[in-house]
Amino acid sequence: MLTIRHLKLNLNIWAVLSFIFILLVILPNLNIVLNVFNEPNENWNHIKEYLLKDYLVNSVILITFTGFFTIIIGTSLAWMISIYDFPLRAFFKWGLVLPLAIPPYIAAYTYQGLLNYTGVIQTFLRNSLNISVQQKYFDVMSPEGAIFIFTMFLFPYVYIITKSFLEKQSAALIENARVLGRNSFEIFLYVVLPVSRAAIVGGVSLVILEVLNDYGVVKYFGIPTFSTAIFKTWFAMGDLDSAVKLSAILMCLVFSLLMLEKFLRGRKKFSYTTAKYSPISRIKLEGIKGKLAFGYCLMIFSLGFLIPTLQLVHWAFLTYQSILSIRLLGLILNSLLVALFSSSVIVIIAIIIANNCRINENLLSKIYSKVTVIGYSIPGAVIAIGVIVFFVNFDKQLFWFYKMLNPNSSKLVLSTSIVMLIFAYTIRFLAIGYNSIEAGFEKIGTKFHEASRTLGMSVTRTFFKVDLQMLKPAILGGFLLVFVDILKELPLTLILRPFNFNTLATKSFEYANDEMIHEAAISSLIIILISAISIYYFYKVGDKED
């Protein structure tokens, strides 16, 4: 009796679905991970002797400084926007998310094109003012330059998550602190930072994972890191085993960082202090203070969005005659459809798993929530290979079924279709959707859910009537992040797309890869435009929720 009751409690639809999804995430990666335990070969010894130290040092430098600067910029902006009123605040509120619309590799090419010898700035100095500059002062192709690019184009992850937390969460705390006579800086340091720690960490982990996974920027700048190393060993040395070992070290690095944070945070949990939460009453900044706040936001906005976009517009003017064509429309449609559809799938799966973790608090569900991160901590190309193997096997198993439907069917159906790509996106970006939805759940806490259950509603009814309603901003936030990420995604799209399938990102990359950055401008700009519009749209919806 007891066991059946136990089973019934645990085995609801949420648990079953979560289990299936998690299995689907793990399986393709399994055959890759299993390679870790193979005997080290000669290549591995070579890597250990000559290269590993460089990879480690460079990767650690990049994530440490990028992490540090994104926290500073992200939280300071989130704090200013939610606590103060100053000129153009309403615009900056969403405008500061726009750097996310620009893929870092495009930003890297753009800044290099802007600053190098043939770029606008040096050309102007040289031709109009007759000033020759030392190249090293205009060199972005260095670790410092990479940190700059990553910081400017990834800080919105920290900004978005921290801001939405501060707006919803901290009003009472901040007002109490104000009443108790703390000044703004003290409140920031002693109240805001500790309270929004989970949000900041959530944002910064996304940043760190993006940096560790980045291939475009570090490769272009010639900085040896783990991701370039993985590609190099795998493809140049043809050694998948060693490449997987490197990925495994990378994953350990990521997980130990995450665990360290969890450990330091201990058992502290923050959720709504009262059921009724009210927005913060903002302080109006007058005079010089207002101008400073405005100037700071404008500077970040310019570096992270305005300047590169203007540069791309300039290049677009130089090349539009040879680039604009009807094919471009097809590219736009492909990009949009695949991104919209995949993000919907991802968000739905994330909600299901997150809800399961919340209602069935046991070891298994804790593992689930860790597993969602897997796809995000493995380099895209490694996932791609895992997914191909998985689908080819899957197709072989389903061959009898295809034949039943269509006697002439070829053996590979799913693995030559767009389904494979969408599946890979799901593995890759589940973490992003999950993170924001989990944060949403954490914010709601369990009180409302428990109240509803006490009043006799089932888990599923409670979910639709109560949880989902309160979760909407988090869902939209997650959807937005995933959508924009897929729009920009490169390695998976490149490897897994079906025949004759091109997107804006692949087109931009093709041009940029052929060292035709000017020609890449138009498709890059369209990516940026679509991302910017979606960011704006979701922001407006998000605002109405308040």
């Binding site: 070579h46 890597i47 000559y50 290269l51 290099q112 190098n116 010898y117 043939t118 770029g119 050309t123 190249q135 192709m141 260095s142 490769k219 272009y220 700048f221 010639g222 040896p224 590609f231 190099k232 795998w234 493809f235 140049a236 040395m237 043809g238 130089l318 090349t319 459809l337 919209l340 559809f341 919907s344 791609a384 290979i385 080819v392 197709d395 072989k396 269509n406 002439n408 070829s410 053996k411 590979l412 159906v413 279709s417 909407k472 490149l494 490897i495 797309r497 079906p498 025949f499 004759n500 091109n502 692949t506 093709e510 041009y511 890869n513 052929d514 060292e515 000017h518 919806v541 109405k544």
Partner: protein, 352 residues
């Protein structure tokens, strides 16, 4: 609030059905087109003019060309993983070393075609005819017209001379063109000499390797160094750039073909191979022959400012203006055979 959510949900459902519909109609189309002759191509060439060539091929033969573009390493890996179920019939990559890698992995098969044998010289194709070069590029020395007199230049080996200390610009060793260059030295002079050369270049570098080939030429003109090692076609691309400053850069550097009195200038090809499990073998060979023929060769090579592999076809006027040159005579298969050795040497001497 509720309404926006419902709208969102609805649009998702609609998208889902749309996607399903598209998927179904796709497969129906495939059934209807079962008789349409096709050839499926994995390629790492991205030029818009290639598409015109494929269309011309379809016009002449009625065979439709389907294309997946990607990075060659990843396409090879994909081909390997798909095994005998692959849909790809042809693989085109921009480096002989990579074609060799595909061959070693057992992904290609020999092609016996009189037309191909006639059109493509022996050293530009695989020993066992598993792949054929289509376009040729040299990896040359590019020098500052302002500060270097070409009479000071002679060979690749001379670049390791201490007189060039702090003057040499070259990209990272993760780049396949550098790997193939070093592989050719291993083939010609043995491992030890090749390592000495790589070591010597590292000691003479003007800066840590960074950027692509174009960046090296730009750095020469900007005065960061005097000499750059780079592929010929990038100069062609820069001369035709939409950025007038880049055109100026290309005009301010000269091209020097090294080792003319000894082993010859290092060349490499982009080439094509028939996949082992090709389902449309005949069509695929037809396309290979078409691409090696006089009509296609000109456009195929000029799209990327390269030399045609077919000796009967003249290079473009721009390339002719650089003069004729003697090239390395080793069979390009060697570039692949010595690739991993080259990579290791680079790591050992600290060529980033």
């Amino acid at each position: 609030m509720r309404r926006t959510f419902v709208a969102l949900l609805l649009s998702c459902v609609m998208l889902l059905s749309l996607a399903l519909l598209a998927g179904c109609s796709g497969s129906q189309e495939e059934v209807a087109n079962a008789k349409q002759e096709v050839v499926n191509l994995y390629t790492d060439r991205h030029y818009d003019t290639d598409q015109q060539l494929y269309e011309l091929f379809t016009e002449e033969t009625g065979i439709k060309v389907n294309v997946v573009k990607g990075k060659s390493d990843e396409l090879i890996e994909r081909l390997a993983r798909e095994g005998k179920d692959t849909e790809a019939d042809l693989l085109i990559t921009a480096d002989a070393g990579r074609l060799h890698r595909a061959k070693v992995k057992g992904l290609l098969q020999p092609v016996e075609s009189k037309i191909l044998f006639e059109n493509i010289p022996q050293n530009l194709r695989d020993r066992d005819n598993e792949w054929f070069g289509l376009t040729v590029r040299g990896r040359v020395i590019v020098y500052s017209k302002e500060r270097v007199n070409p009479s000071q230049l002679s060979t690749y080996e001379d670049l390791t001379n201490p007189k060039w200390k702090g003057k040499i610009l070259v990209r990272s060793s993760s780049n396949i063109y550098n790997q193939s260059l070093l592989a050719s030295f291993i083939a010609l002079h043995g491992e030890e000499k090749a390592k000495e050369w790589a070591q010597g270049i590292v000691e003479n570098m003007a800066r840590e390797p960074k950027g692509n080939d174009r960046a090296q030429a730009t750095a020469v003109v900007a005065g960061e160094g005097d000499l750059a090692i780079m592929n010929t076609y990038y100069i062609g691309k820069m001369l035709n750039s939409s950025n007038p400053e880049e055109v100026k850069v290309a005009q301010n550097v000269g091209i020097f073909f090294p080792n003319q009195d000894s082993t010859g200038t290092h060349i490499n090809v982009s080439g094509v191979g028939l996949t082992k499990h090709a389902k449309n073998e005949e069509n695929a060979i037809k396309l290979m022959e078409f691409l090696s023929g006089a009509k296609a060769q000109k456009q195929f090579a000029e799209a990327n400012y390269e030399y045609p592999a077919n000796p009967a076809v003249e290079p473009s006027d721009l390339l002719k203006s650089w003069g004729e040159f003697k090239s390395q005579s080793i069979n390009l298969s060697k570039l692949g055979e010595y690739n991993s050795k080259a990579v290791k040497i680079f790591n050992e001497v600290g060529w980033k």
